[in-house]
């Protein structure tokens, strides 16, 4: 957790993925309950995440993770930090 806070400025998050681009999840900078729920839906650190399509206007966005597609709002996607 400490690490991800320090590296925040440099670290890439999910919103910076371009359509079709893939990244490996490093950490979830979210309250415990939300992080748990996201992990249950497939956002487990170490897994790869691919950006899919989005709603008109670009928010929320669909991400392909662990065999399924999950839509997240920008403010949530921003908190998912990539390696």
């Amino acid at each position: 957790m400490q690490l991800s806070v320090k590296k925040r400025a440099a670290a890439k998050n999910l919103t910076e993925l371009k359509p079709g681009e893939e990244g490996v999840l490093a950490s979830l900078d979210l309250p415990e309950a939300d992080a748990q729920r996201l992990m249950e839906m497939g956002f487990v650190p170490g897994h790869s995440v691919t950006r899919g399509l989005s709603a008109p206007g670009g928010d929320p966005r669909v991400f392909r993770v662990d065999g399924s597609e999950v839509a997240l709002r920008r403010e949530t996607a921003r908190r998912l930090i990539l390696k």
Partner: protein
């Protein structure tokens, strides 16, 4: 799977569990699975029409209980639990599932066995749920659903090996097509339902640690030769269209208009048909009944009263047919995605959109449709604002008053008349009240962190006729039950109030009835709105259902004949000022005059708190705005 030979003592049979009284309890089997695993499809497949919906005591989560008929004439009860990703009791759904499985739920004995249903096309992730379920120690059948998808997309899996690894029988099935379901019946008949499962070959992981559970699931997948299928090609293609920046919103708009149009116009002939049927059958029955009081009660009271509600059945069925198609095909998730940003402005989310749209037909099915919203605060906010949407029961009232008071003139060219403008204005008024209320609620009592929105996009699938039909039967049952109980009671009370007290054995003129007494009693309170005692009676009777005011006013103004709406409009013209008429329209736009809605809100929120708050809020708002409307119009005109 037939590994039970030689262990007859362990086979769970019909024998009652030891220590229980004489009446043998039927076995209870719980269906557990993540969302989108095909849980409900399986439940429908197993139970068919032998099912009912109920709420767990003290919580808002509903569950379905159904009976499965087995070959030897035995029954097994199946409980469909809410879709969960884990058994950690964080959300209400998870707590309910956890409590039922551990035998802590009041009124439901601990299940004798578990059907764990997982999506075989997404096995590695869904297997995560197997760890906590298997560690419960209940006899468990692991059901891998969507076998047809797995095969057609080139996925692979060694089923016997997986059964070995998990220490539980495994069945690969397709719940939608019905293939492989016989293995579930075998399990339920006790052939493989053992008292305690064999110890799994591998150690179960620490359940709280999701990354560890996930690694455990991958490990099992590898050991059993699981090959994830190729991504769903058709879903990608369809999404490229349905989520296209230009085509997407257009399709969305088209769907919305089609739903709207069908609810309004498509249902019209059916509704007229039911209306005619009620009237002619009422008249025909009337001839058969010699006693005048009995005839009046049956025809004027019960037949017409209950009929005025049953008439909405076609609209409700069409609406649920639409929602069923949208939900089962997977488009509903896309619609929620497209609507999310707009709904977020009012503090709501994409999943609130369809229920609110449905509320234009009737708030009752709309409130039932909010079950798709997982976030509890968002769900309550949606339930609370749904009755502001202009439902079809308001329409007869609007048409009567507008016809009587608004001149039939053009506003802009020949296209938009003044009457249509006022009608449109009333629709906008309800909508504005809804979104302002949503903002108010979401920034105060129902405030939530906005980060909690996450929505899984299931692959597109063909909806099955079977599942759609079951859904419609289910909803009709719920709706007709209400019409047969609450509405029936209210219809009888209203009839009695206008039929009594008897004068020389004859019913009184309406101005001497108990109803009139009540009307006179409330008159001082509604005078500032520009209403007299006759409107007062109408307002009271419309507490049952809004459109009741039309028939009540008809009775009060002595318009016995149904075809005399024009006569009623003239009579109203003499009794109401323009200010009073506009106030009445505004009052109906805001007030929560609908017993059915109050009843369904109580059921869905699990108590009287929210319907109470809602009724008080909407009635105060209606009173205040009607008061303002009456005085402003009086000043201007």
């Amino acid at each position: 799977m037939g590994d039970c030979h030689g262990c007859p003592n362990n086979i769970a049979t019909l024998a009652p569990p030891p220590g229980r009284g004489a009446p043998a309890r039927s076995h209870i089997v719980a269906i557990v699975g993540p969302p989108n695993s095909g849980k409900s499809t399986l439940f429908n497949r197993l139970t068919g029409l032998r099912q009912k919906v109920a709420n767990f005591p003290g919580v808002t989560v509903e569950h379905r209980m159904g009976k499965v008929k087995l070959e030897q004439g035995r029954d097994v009860f199946v409980v469909d639990l809410p879709g969960v990703y884990s058994l950690t009791p964080r959300t209400e759904d998870e707590r309910v599932t956890h409590d039922v499985l551990s035998g802590r739920m009041k009124d439901i004995p601990r299940p004798d066995a578990v059907l764990l249903i997982l999506d075989s096309t997404n096995l590695s992730r869904h297997l995560v749920l197997a760890a906590p379920v298997l560690s419960l120690g209940l006899p468990t059948l692991v059901i891998l659903n969507m076998a047809d998808d797995l095969k057609s997309r080139g996925g692979e899996l060694n089923v016997p090996e997986l059964a070995m690894q998990l220490g539980s029988p495994v069945a690969l099935i397709s719940a939608a097509k019905g293939t492989g379901v016989e293995k579930i019946f075998q399990f339920l008949s006790g052939a493989t339902m053992r008292a305690a499962p064999k110890a799994p070959l591998i150690q179960l992981p620490v359940i709280q640690d999701i990354p560890k559970c996930r690694a455990w699931a991958t490990n099992i997948g590898n050991k059993t030769g699981y090959h994830a299928p190729a991504p769903p090609l058709w879903t990608r293609r369809l999404d490229a269209f349905f989520l296209h920046p230009v085509a997407g919103p257009l399709v969305f708009l088209f769907v919305v208009v089609a739903v709207f149009q069908t609810i309004f116009n498509g249902a019209r002939p059916l509704m007229d048909g039911i209306d005619a049927l009620i009237k002619t059958s009422g008249a025909w029955l009337g001839h058969l009944l010699p006693n005048e009081a009995l005839r009046s009660l049956l025809i004027d009271g019960i037949w017409t009263g209950v009929g005025s509600v049953i008439i909405f059945l076609p609209q409700i069925l069409l609406l649920f047919l639409f929602i069923g198609i949208l939900e089962d095909s997977g488009y509903l998730a896309r619609a929620a995605l497209i609507a999310d940003r707009t709904m977020a402005r009012f503090g709501l989310q994409g999943k609130s959109f369809i229920p609110l749209l449905s509320a234009y037909a009737c708030a009752v099915p709309a409130i039932m449709a909010t079950r798709t919203i997982e976030d509890k605060r968002d769900r309550i906010a949606t339930i609370l604002i749904a009755p502001f949407m202009t439902c079809s029961a308001r329409l007869p009232v609007y048409i009567l008053i507008i016809g009587a008071f608004i001149p039939d003139k053009h506003v802009i060219g020949p296209f938009l008349g003044m009457r249509a403008t006022v009608l449109l204005g009333l629709y906008v008024l309800g909508f504005v009240a809804a979104i302002l209320t949503a903002r108010l609620l979401k920034s105060t009592v129902l405030k939530s962190r906005r980060s909690s929105f996450m929505l899984e996009m299931p692959p597109y699938r063909w909806p099955t006729v079977r599942s759609l039909a079951l859904r419609l039967v289910d909803r009709s049952k719920v709706f007709l039950m209400r019409a047969g109980t609450v509405i029936l009671g209210v219809a009888i009370v209203i009839w009695a109030l206008s039929y009594l007290p008897l004068h020389d054995g004859k019913p009184p003129a309406i101005e001497h009835s108990f109803a009139a007494g009540i009307g006179h009693f409330v008159e001082p309170a509604i005078k500032p709105l520009g209403f007299n005692w006759k409107i007062g009676i109408g307002l009271i009777t419309s507490l049952a259902a809004r459109e009741t005011i039309v028939s009540t006013l008809g009775t009060i103004y002595g318009m016995k004949d149904e075809g005399s709406q024009q006569g009623l409009q003239q009579a109203l013209h003499q009794d109401l000022t323009l200010g009073g008429a506009i106030a009445l329209l505004v009052f109906f736009a805001f007030a929560m005059q609908c017993m059915s809605t109050i009843a369904v809100v109580r059921r869905e929120t699990g108590g009287w708190l929210w319907p109470g708050v809602q009724f008080a809020y909407m009635t105060s708002l209606a009173y205040l705005c009607a008061f303002l409307a009456n005085h402003l119009v009086s000043i201007w005109s």
